[in-house]
């Protein structure tokens, strides 16, 4: 993943967090987003991370990181204790998609989900050319990707409708991290949603 995009993604999320709010970042990696939300927004944050390297890096950043596997749900986290539960660029790597979305909105009042849009025109072009796409937001070869699921803005929104999740806001970015306003399912590389019940 490249820095400018990551910042664009985080810029949006940071803008949605109010001072003093409680944030749970699922798959928090090295804790960069949480660090930023704590320092810039005065948030109170916890992260969940599976990988050893991420846990170590987050501890070094003084982040409240909890080593654990999202696939096992969020047992132990109380209902409605976080203002925002963030799942940044991770939903496509999760096997239990519906369960994790439901869990996010059980423990949090709002779910913030970002994911790469498989319908992005460059991805479509790659498949038209007979190859799986490798891009800024899908940076892996097919044989070593952590991604399990590929889906589009339209796919995700129909799942939200099925699960009766309310889409409070949607922002779509292109590969350079610019906001996309026209034809988002075609021109957008990364989507960021705020979901509620």
């Amino acid at each position: 993943m490249t820095q400018p995009l990551e910042r664009a993604d985080f810029d949006l999320i940071a803008g949605w967090v109010q001072p003093g709010e409680r944030v749970l970042d699922l798959g928090c990696g090295d804790g960069s987003l949480l660090k930023r939300l704590i320092e810039e927004r005065g948030a109170k944050g916890y992260g969940v991370e599976l990988e050893e390297a991420g846990v170590l890096a987050a501890i070094a950043k003084d982040i409240n990181v909890i080593q654990g596997n999202l696939e096992q749900g969020l047992a132990g986290f109380d209902d409605q204790t976080f203002n925002h539960v963030v799942l940044s660029r991770t939903l496509q790597t999760v096997r239990h998609t519906e369960r994790i979305l439901a869990e996010m909105l059980r423990v949090g009042r709002e779910a913030v989900v970002s994911f790469p849009n498989f319908a992005y025109w460059k991805n479509r072009l790659a498949v038209m050319g007979g190859r799986m796409p490798v891009s800024e937001d899908l940076p892996y070869e097919w044989f070593d990707t952590p991604n399990l699921r590929f889906f589009t803005l339209l796919d995700f929104e129909s799942l939200c409708a099925k699960m009766k999740l309310v889409i409070r806001e949607r922002q779509v970015l292109d590969e350079a991290g610019r906001l996309v306003t026209e034809e988002p399912n075609f021109l957008g590389s990364l989507a960021v949603y705020r979901l509620g019940r």
Binding site: R22, K44, Y46, E52, V55, L56, A58, I59, A60, D62, I63, N64, V65, I66, Q67, G68, G76, F77, D78, T81
Partner: protein, 372 residues
Amino acid sequence: MSGVGLVSAQIAHFTQPLALKGGGLLPAFDLVYETYGTLNAAKSNAILVCHALSGHHHVAGHTEGNPANIGWWDNIVGPGRPLDTERFFIVGVNNLGGCHGSTGPASTNPATGKPWGADFPVVTVEDWVDAQARLADHLGIGAWAAVMGGSLGGMQALQWTLSFPDRVRHALVIAAAPKLSAENIAFNDVARQAILTDPDFHGGHFYEHGVRPVRGLRLARMLGHITYLSDDQMAEKFGRRLRTGAGSYGFDVEFEIESYLRYQGDKFAGVFDANTYLRMTKALDYFDPAQDFDDDLARALARARAKFLVVAFSTDWRFSPERSREIVHALVHNGQAVAYAEIDSAHGHDSFLMDEPHYHAVVDTYLKRVKL
């Protein structure tokens, strides 16, 4: 190689009586302790290391004339090690009721002039922490940079944050639990029964009879040892391997695991005090900070001011990761600062004593961010 080199123990005498949770006063007492590193001018770099069931004050280094007598947590303490003695002042202490120099059942009861034996009071984790606070006063340490321990030591670290919230800045709670399960207590009681029913126990007054309940202690340790290891580790280390000459369909030592357990049992029974073992396991059984809060651990922990590092090990079935997560989730519920690492390890409960690279990296990384 020990990291801190030659060390020697010191004794602190306390003449102010100590009120015990179980009732009664201990009129005066001694604590034996060791220190490693240097206390800084601000006295802000001290770490207390609390020991587990059979541990003591000799945490690191080796003792005079005995290079093999290396401290039980030497692999984590020393220059450049996670508990870096270039930066921190480390204190190890033998708890009250212990058998390594601190006042305990084998000490002389001033009321009778004879060993306390069975009359030595049952001491709790809270009592230990109170006694350790006296030691902190004695050393001029207002607040610990960290209090740390594994297993029963982790419970002490947790209790420190509750008994003295303003005197501990970080608590490292490793391979611990917020209270024992019925199964844990059951194991402890079988161990105690082995001791209590040993004909040489004499109701705890065996000192006067010139004997020791060695058989009971040995059985207690063998049972304990099984619970500290993991099934995988035992399979890997011993499997079903037989000793040479085995196969007699008798009851001599035939399997390697039998040999190992008997060796561990004998070694332990040769040095440990039966009355101490009874009291240490009781302290484990009684520990339950949530008891006074309608079993609501979050409410119990709410008064803690420390930041926490909680560490559990994947193959620890005595205090499984689920038990550590109870502590973590109570802290998260309260919005308290906590990091939690679940270490993939093959060594069961004993993992906290092992040289596990990721575990040591977690402790090292956590302590590096501790401000002095």
